[in-house]
Amino acid sequence: MRVHRVYVTALPCGSQLALQTLQETISLNRSPQAAIISADQTTLDRSDQTQLAVNISTLTVGQSLPLATFTLSREAVALYREATGDSASLYQRETALVPPTAIAALAIKHLLDSMNLPHGTIHVGQELSLQRATATDQKLVCHAQIAQSAEKRGWHFVSVSFQIHDRDETPTVSGLSSLLIPAE
């Protein structure tokens, strides 16, 4: 299976700068790099994930994306907090707690990896809803669906909603990621 490597950047939505930048990004990546998506051993995670690339041109509202499961070890969370410079005293008092943006970042990464996104895709908006504090070394399951898909002026606007549950199926974090994708 050949998969496009995904480059996602955040830019002012719809601006001339965004379009020019994306055109340059696309032109630099004429040959999609083949990347094997497999169990992703990131610092945060050891994931078991069904990796079936989604065809962006056939996305429909309500369509489910591949399920993702992951855990966040204490060490990985420590690295994340160091990377973000998070000094909130809560995590010093309760060292097993996971910053919610760590969970969201990992879920979003898996979602983007599972979608057959072309070069030049940009992350334009993000919603998060935090329902329950999550502890380290807890198995999390991420369900995701296409919430919105529209094409206009050579761009796909796609929103992906996701819900992350712990092993008791209790919701922990949910969200909506909005992406601007150049139409092929």
Partner: protein
């Protein structure tokens, strides 16, 4: 017992290349636009930019400082990524209370949240809410 903040405690972060490299390792996001100056130089950005989710983490940290567990168990964010943050820029995260809404079992605080560069440019704007489970004293 949490106290309601009219203004969230401001957070200032200087985004360094080292931090972006660490974030790439921690998050698994190795997009070269964040990591490779040669790659970034050939884009309109001209130089590496920070991950949007890294900058969003600053807003979440700000709310964690203010409300602790209440943020983790009853918070929400809705933001737009308006502009990139370049390596070397200092970003200030801030939030101002817009309104308070009484719900059945809690009080919902609604903040306007912003991240700005030292030049004053908004890079992230949006809204954050925190549901506090009990009535609290309003801080002047």
């Amino acid at each position: 017992m949490a106290v309601i903040n009219r203004d969230l405690p401001i957070l200032k972060k200087c985004v360094t290349q080292e931090q972006v490299v660490r974030y790439a390792e921690a998050s698994g996001d190795h997009n070269p636009i964040h990591l490779d100056p040669n790659f970034a130089a050939k884009t309109t950005f001209g130089r590496p930019i920070a991950h949007g989710m890294l900058v969003l983490a600053f807003i979440s940290e700000m709310l964690t400082h203010a409300y602790g567990r209440a943020w983790l168990e009853g918070g929400s964010l809705k933001v737009r990524f308006k502009a990139p943050v370049y390596i070397g820029q200092t970003v200030t995260a801030s939030g101002a209370l817009k309104s308070e809404v009484e719900t059945v079992n809690s009080r919902r605080l609604i903040y306007r949240v912003t991240c700005r560069t030292q030049e004053g440019n908004e890079v992230i704007t949006g809204e954050a809410t925190v549901d506090l489970p009990e009535k609290e004293k309003t801080k002047a």
